[in-house]
């Protein structure tokens, strides 16, 4: 089997001492970069590019890829400990991860994040290795109607994230859609909701809103009470600082869920790790026996999105390496890097440069193992961060938030936006509006509108294109079903009450 032969060759390349070293450097750097909110793999890789000119290409791509998937491991750290999303893919991890930390289960949360990342990351590489060409063809068949249906399905999950009041959750999601519209319309170059500010012409950065609505709002809410000095209990003993066997059992489906959804969504050029993690979280919640507890600190709620954003890496490399099409920001830079070194990713890349491709694949297996070994022992260490007195921790969270936002674009205006959204997030908490739907609406809004308009342009105005194509029809039906589930629940409750009273 040529795959086996290729892989063996790949390991020969990846296990060369120099390449092993680059792999380690890459994953270590990636972990650090992922932990820091704001600064992300694209910026880091771009800054390291000039240094890679004199390296051998195999070592260079191994290192850069290591940064890419290593960052996904680190991104969950601040999400869990501080409710500060490390990057846009880690936003969903905040939902249950931080709640687990509040209950003294930061260690298990961090641990399961690392384990899920390892499992799903490895599955992602397996997928890249085994099914890349057919997946790439499948991804090409995905067009705007399918993207619209996918995003609608994602948005329908709002209902599952609703908590007590569906009306408020929907309103939050609509506000998210509104924020996503701020900026210049791609199709007509019209400025929408920019209030005359030129900084808003390119829209509002997702990370800024997420950090404001999650982290800042959380700190402000905690400021209300002065009395508690050690808010977050950290249990002693190594046993309590890592996931238990029961935890691992609970996450069985989450591992599968995260791996599959992350890989498939990552392979779509219009997909991304944010959508993948939301979909995976939503699916996990839909099938979990304890779905009402999601959002209060359920471990599968951490495992699923964390797995998804890691296998997404493998998925995103599928269109890049089989077709030369970059799917996301980071893959675009990897493309630029490959071009810079004289390789041209495209359909002929793998046949013409098998050593490079298989070396990369093999190094990703090795890298994931390295990351697991690197991250698990750090879990108890990181969990200790929460033993700080809150009057030290909360200013720290504020500082990390501000630095994170500033490091994205060096803009004071973004800090201003952070303030605004921090206040908004706090008010939402006081008024019982769930913030996850707002973030979901923001993440999906722009893509959804674009996909809808593109679809109608393709069909010359006929809405039927959305249901005449099989894949999009199926996904839209699922979305409708998801929206109707709680309706049934409420109708049932209403009926039962009517029966009682009547």
């Amino acid at each position: 089997m040529e795959i086996v032969a290729g892989l063996l060759n790949g390991f020969a390349v990846a296990l060369e001492p120099a390449n092993l070293l680059w792999c380690f450097v890459g994953v270590l750097l990636g972990t650090v970069v992922g932990i820091l909110p704001g600064l992300g793999p694209p910026a880091t890789i771009a800054m390291l590019l000039p240094l890679t000119f004199n390296m051998n290409p195999a070592g260079a791509i191994i290192m850069l890829a290591g940064i890419y998937y290593g960052a996904k491991y680190g991104g969950s750290t601040t999400s869990i400990l501080m409710n500060v999303p490390g990057e846009s893919a880690s936003v969903v991890t905040c939902l249950d991860g931080y709640q687990m930390a509040r209950k003294g289960r930061a260690g298990p949360a961090l641990g399961i994040a690392a384990i899920a990342s390892f499992v799903a990351g490895t599955v992602g590489v397996l997928g890249l290795m085994l099914v890349a060409p057919p997946i790439a063809r499948f991804a090409l068949s995905f067009s705007s109607p399918e993207y619209f249906a996918l995003m609608s399905l994602g948005l329908a999950l709002v209902v599952l994230l609703a908590g007590r009041s569906i009306v408020k959750a929907l309103l939050a999601a609509l506000v998210g859609l509104w924020i996503a519209s701020v900026g210049t319309d791609l199709f007509s170059s019209t400025s929408r909701f920019t209030f005359g500010q030129m900084e808003l012409l390119s829209g509002i950065d997702f990370v800024v809103v997420a950090i404001g609505v999650f982290a800042l709002a959380e700190v402000l809410a905690n400021m209300e009470a002065r009395e508690e000095t050690r808010l977050l209990p950290v249990p002693k003993g190594l046993k309590n600082l890592l996931p238990t066997m029961q935890d691992l059992k609970d996450c069985r489906f989450a591992f599968v869920n995260g791996s599959v959804i992350g890989f498939l969504v990552g392979a779509l050029p219009g997909g991304g790790s944010t959508i993948a993690s939301f979909l995976s979280y939503g699916l996990e919640k839909a099938v979990s026996p304890r779905r009402e507890q999601f959002g209060t600190g359920v471990i599968e709620g951490v495992a699923a999105p964390e797995g998804a954003n890691n296998s997404e890496t493998g998925g995103a490399l599928v269109p890049l390496l089989t077709l030369g099409i970059p799917g996301s920001g980071t893959t675009a830079i990897l493309l630029a890097a490959l071009v810079l070194w004289g390789f041209k990713p495209g359909p002929l890349f793998i046949p013409e440069h098998p050593a490079l491709f298989w070396g990369l694949v093999a190094s990703m297996y090795i890298g994931n193992v390295m990351l697991l070994i690197l991250n698990l022992p750090l879990v108890p260490l990181f969990a200790q961060v929460l033993r700080m007195p809150v009057y030290v921790l909360y200013p720290l969270i504020l500082g990390v938030s501000m630095v994170g936002v500033y490091s994205v674009s060096g803009s004071m205006f973004d800090l201003l936006l952070l303030m605004v959204f921090g206040l908004l997030g706090y008010l939402m908490r006081k008024l019982d509006y769930p913030s996850a739907p707002l973030i979901l609406g923001l993440a999906l809004g722009a893509g959804m509108e674009r996909a809808l308009r593109q679809s109608l342009m393709m069909s010359e105005g006929k809405l039927s294109i959305l249901v005449s194509r099989p894949i999009s029809a199926v996904m839209l039906s699922l979305a409708v079903l998801v929206l109707l589930i709680p309706m049934f629940g409420k109708l049932n409750a209403w009926r039962l009450r009517a029966l009682e009273q009547g």
Binding site: S143, L186, L201, S202, L323, A332, Q454, E460
Partner: protein, 323 residues
């Protein structure tokens, strides 16, 4: 003795003249401002330029890239305007800097408010279809578009991008009509073409290279003045019989307002020297750019012509211009 001292005085005078002609020299690290984040098109070019400058030892100081993303280029332009009279800050502009002020009222600065220094490159493009498309020439596509107005589709960027400009010019000159569907990223545009969801696209030659080599894409024509070295068979628009102007995609350098004349001259000469270096020549050959060097005065003229023509094209296309 007198002749010797005369000679020394003459030499001293000559040296003084030479050092005066040296004039301005950057005293600290030079900032090159780009409007994209790390990894974006301008950022990659700027970083490559910084490496070249160091390799060819063109400056006594370092050139460093400063990212000021946001506002579709307006934030970077505003940053430059703030650095009034600072001779150690430069900006790498692209077509976006020229177009955004035309259509967005919030972007108040145009290139005229900054100091033009030099135009560096022109980026040609090719018009491509999927390999199994029934069109062998651009004329065949136009014919098909005329028979089915509005049904054929092109994938591209925003409606002010060069992709749409080429389409508007061709539509106006031939009377054909086809749809334009915007996608935010190059990857998505290519995927739309390769997946058969659109019929045609305007694409950079570098991006198309591998797909053509693999037999997935075919080039119908080139959007450039002369045929590109790597595409000897594809006709230019003029050669193919379409009398449309080649509206180029440009990159160049500007400086903050209020720079004294000697600084302008220094920088324009510096960039001329840069474009003559072997590393630069290799870079633009590799990326299939065209050398489009113009000095400051010519750049200013080019800017006026370009914006006037863009304004006309946008108005024809029904796109509202604000300046």
């Amino acid at each position: 003795m007198k002749s010797a001292s005369n000679l020394i005085a003459l030499l001293a005078l000559l040296c003084a003249q030479l050092s005066f002609a040296e004039g301005f020299k950057p005293a600290r690290t030079v900032d090159l401002v780009v409007h994209t984040g790390p990894g974006g098109g301008s950022d990659v070019l700027a970083r490559a330029m910084a490496v070249m400058v160091e390799k060819e030892k063109l400056l006594p100081v370092r050139l460093q890239v400063v990212n000021k993303p946001g506002g579709n280029g307006a934030v970077a332009a505003a940053h430059l305007a703030e650095k009034k009279a600072d001779p150690n800050t430069l900006g790498l502009f692209t077509g976006v800097w020229l177009q955004t002020p035309l259509v967005s009222a919030e972007a108040k600065l145009t290139l005229r408010d900054l100091t033009p220094i030099a135009r560096l490159v022109l980026e040609p493009a090719v018009i491509a279809v999927k390999a199994d498309a029934p069109y062998k020439t651009l004329a065949e596509f136009i014919e098909a578009a005329k028979k089915n107005p509005g049904q054929l589709k092109q994938s591209g960027g925003s409606n002010t991008s060069r992709d749409n400009v080429v389409r508007q010019l061709l539509q106006k000159s031939t009377g054909a009509r086809w749809a334009f569907i915007s996608f935010p990223g190059g990857g998505e545009r290519i995927a739309a073409l390769l997946g058969g969801h659109v019929d045609i696209m305007v694409i950079e030659p570098e991006e198309a290279g591998e797909h053509i080599r693999a037999g997935n894409m075919r080039v119908l024509a080139q959007v450039s003045e002369k045929r590109l070295a790597k595409f000897p068979e594809a006709p230019t628009l003029k050669e193919a019989g379409f009398d449309v102007p080649v509206v180029p995609q440009v990159r160049g350098v500007v400086a903050p307002p209020g720079i004294p004349k000697e600084n302008v001259e220094f920088w324009q000469d510096f960039f001329r020297r840069l474009t003559r270096t072997p590393s630069w020549q290799k870079y633009i050959a590799d990326n299939q750019f065209e050398d489009g060097y113009q000095n400051a005065a010519d750049l200013a003229k080019f800017y006026d012509e370009f914006t006037d023509r863009m304004r006309e094209i946008l108005k024809d296309a029904g796109i509202k211009t604000v300046r």
